[in-house]
Symmetry: C2
Subunit: 109 residues, 2 copies
């Protein structure tokens, strides 16, 4: 997963999907933030094939999930994977800092 986030373009895609509905917000638990592949690659100045490759990397890392929606393909972050990574870095997954109740916060769109 760290390898997937190590590339600037992939990180940009990741952050674009994070900015709306990060883990812990209401809209995240009810319905994930979904964007079309073309949307998340907007203004990234890379070829469609390159974007596709990066999305595939994020998907194979388990950070991203995809689903065809007609002509487009939707993608969204795997909230469990992301919070798992956050827990690792905050020491929670090492069994030292106790788990906290997930705090739901309303996000305005």
């Amino acid at each position: 997963m760290f390898k997937a986030l190590a590339n600037p373009h992939r990180l940009a895609v990741f952050l674009r999907l994070m900015t709306c509905c990060p883990p812990g917000t209401v809209c995240d638990s009810d319905e994930e933030a979904r964007r079309f592949v073309g949307e998340v690659g907007q203004d990234l100045a890379i070829a469609p094939s390159t974007l596709s490759h990066h999305v595939k990397e994020l998907r194979q890392a388990g950070l991203l999930r995809v689903e065809r929606r007609g002509k487009n393909i939707q993608c969204w972050l795997d909230a469990r994977a992301v919070s798992g990574l956050a827990d690792l870095l905050s020491g929670r997954s090492l069994g030292i800092v106790p788990e906290t109740e997930p705090q739901a916060v309303v996000t305005r769109h």
Copy 2:
């Protein structure tokens, strides 16, 4: 930072420094978990020069700090950098989920 953690050997070094005194524990805030470079590279089956290179990468990424202690060189995690990364992944640094009080937990050595 993600790029620094993307390498298996560097991640091993990182995790070895995380397992004792991860951010949020008492011993972390009072005194960081410090190990000699040789210690964190134990059982990694890489040449000293390679280990040195990886430590340098982690240091340049801002995740690690080093200090010479006699014949050895001590290294420890930059707690602020690590929790900053954790905050990014948990959505806290995006200004949506409110900051929580840092909970201190006693760590046994």
